[in-house]
């Protein structure tokens, strides 16, 4: 198996930059331009920090490339890290949606190997399915316990994993 270089699509990143900028502006502008009540100022400041954090996260994603190899997944960027498939000890696949009927949502994969930091990738990443499939195989081979939710989400992607469900 050869290595594949994966990145978040530009369109997704720019949409996130736009959201972050809109949030920073909406929360920051009243703080700078108006005489705001101190309780509301606290709320706006919390919102400002949230969107600033989101902006930083988007920039981090912009400058990170993921290299999916036969033995590792390497996140190459400012906060880079490495996941070794043979030493994989954590796998969690979650589904989120902003709609009440839980449609049109996105997946988030969190994986980590012994002694290493977690890598979190969203389903908007090009080649997300390949990473999930490789991680699921590694989890199966290493006997990593998977939650009921993770198994259900894997099944919805057409990936079935043998082994015990995490009960403890």
């Amino acid at each position: 198996m050869s290595s594949a270089e994966l990145r978040y699509p530009r369109q997704t990143l720019w949409a996130d930059y736009l959201r972050a900028a809109a949030g920073v502006l909406l929360c920051g502008a009243p703080l700078l331009l108006l005489d705001v009540n101190r309780w509301l100022a606290g709320l706006l400041l919390a919102g400002f920090l949230l969107f600033a954090l989101f902006l930083a996260r988007t920039a981090l994603r912009h400058h990170t490339r993921y290299v999916l190899g036969p033995d590792t997944l390497c996140a190459d960027g400012p906060a880079g890290t490495l996941v070794e498939w043979a030493r994989l000890d954590r796998l969690k696949l979650s589904y989120f949606s902003t709609k009440r009927d839980r449609s049109d949502g996105w997946m988030q994969l969190s994986i980590g190997s012994t002694g290493g930091r977690m890598v979190k990738v969203d389903s908007s990443l090009d080649g997300f399915h390949d990473i999930v499939e490789r991680a699921a195989r590694a989890a199966e081979a290493g006997g990593v316990g998977l939650s009921e939710a993770t198994r259900a989400n894997l099944r919805s992607m057409g990936i079935s994993v043998a082994g015990q469900e995490e009960l403890a």
Partner: protein
């Protein structure tokens, strides 16, 4: 998760803007304004200067300005915690809502806690002891709670309290603490007076929640993974808490979004019946007299609490159950 929160928070802004505009314009739609009723009173008393006074009052409340201009002034004032003047007493809305909002928050928080604690205990007991005496008693209480209107229960308790026990149940504190600064004595008095309103307002919510929790938990307890867990020898309590209960409490979490708006608007009729100094009766009065600033401020709080409640309940639901639903589709 950060993506989720950011998208939801961003969605809140246009949602609240549209709601605030709709609320402000709809309250102002009926013919006349909040000065009309005051002038009618002056004319009835034979006041010759009533019409001149009307113009003065309209200028004072800003009613001589176009509606859109009043709306944007009201919205701009929100950042300064200045919601304009109320027509009822010619005082700033922020002063009027202060203590009432605090008392409403205390009363409704206590009601929510009462609903959750009582329904959780009874619901779990009824589901795990299906078709036993305890289950029948819980079901009976549930049906009674669902079928008796809150205001009727309030009236019955008022009557029984007065006639048989000589107690005055109305109000949220003893008369000597009204309009007095907060003190330990006032706190104790409020706590004592809270019991009846909390039971009255929380009765139907508790009954409904018991029924839903019992039904959900019974569904879960009959699933194969529970049978497997039992067969593997998992302790019953651990088995119950680990999965079935976690899935069955979804309605508790999903209801946060619906419960928070009640903090401001809910229990209006019960508050009127029990003479509770909460925001409900004031909102009713403001709507009747077309006090746009006061009514719109209350309704904006309801909207804010609704969207915050929805966000909290969705976040909690996502944390409780981050599974894709059958039929739901992900972006990629």
């Amino acid at each position: 998760m950060l993506n989720f929160i950011v998208r939801r928070v961003l969605l809140m802004v246009p949602t609240l803007f549209v709601i605030s505009a709709l609320v402000y314009f709809i309250i102002d739609l009926p013919p006349g304004d909040c000065v009309t009723s005051q002038i009618d009173e002056l004319l009835a008393r034979g006041d010759a200067d009533a019409l001149v006074r009307a113009d003065e009052l309209r200028a004072l409340y800003g009613l001589d300005q176009p509606l859109w201009q009043r709306y944007f002034e009201w919205v701009g004032g929100i950042f300064r915690w200045d919601f304009g003047l109320s027509c009822q007493d010619t005082v700033p809305v922020s002063e009027l809502i202060g203590e009432r909002m605090a008392l409403t928050l205390i009363m409704e928080s206590s009601t929510i806690a009462f609903i959750w604690i009582v329904s959780f205990v009874i619901g779990v007991y009824a589901a795990t002891h299906q078709y036993r005496m305890g289950d029948y008693v819980a079901s009976f209480i549930g049906f009674v709670g669902l079928s008796v209107p809150n205001f009727l229960l309030a009236l019955v308790l008022l009557y029984v309290g007065k006639v048989y026990f000589g107690l005055s149940i109305g109000g949220l504190m003893d008369p000597e603490y009204i309009d007095k600064p907060f003190s330990w004595g006032k706190f104790v008095s409020v706590a004592e007076h809270l019991i009846i309103p909390v039971i009255v307002i929380g009765m139907s919510g508790t009954a409904g929640m018991i029924r839903r929790l019992r039904a959900n938990l019974l569904d879960e307890l009959q699933k194969q993974y529970v049978v497997t867990g039992r067969a593997k020898g998992l302790p019953p309590m651990r088995l119950l808490i680990k999965y079935p209960l976690r899935h069955a409490i979804n309605p508790f979490v999903a209801d946060i979004g619906g419960l928070l708006p009640d903090v401001i608007s809910g229990s209006v009729i019960v508050s009127v019946v029990l003479s509770l100094p909460t925001t409900g009766p004031m909102l009713l009065g403001a709507l009747k007299t077309q006090d746009v600033n006061l009514a719109a401020t209350f309704l904006l709080f309801v909207a804010v609490l609704t969207v915050i409640g929805m966000l909290i309940s969705d976040l909690a639901l996502a944390a409780l159950d981050p599974r894709i639903r059958f039929g739901a589709t992900s972006e990629k």
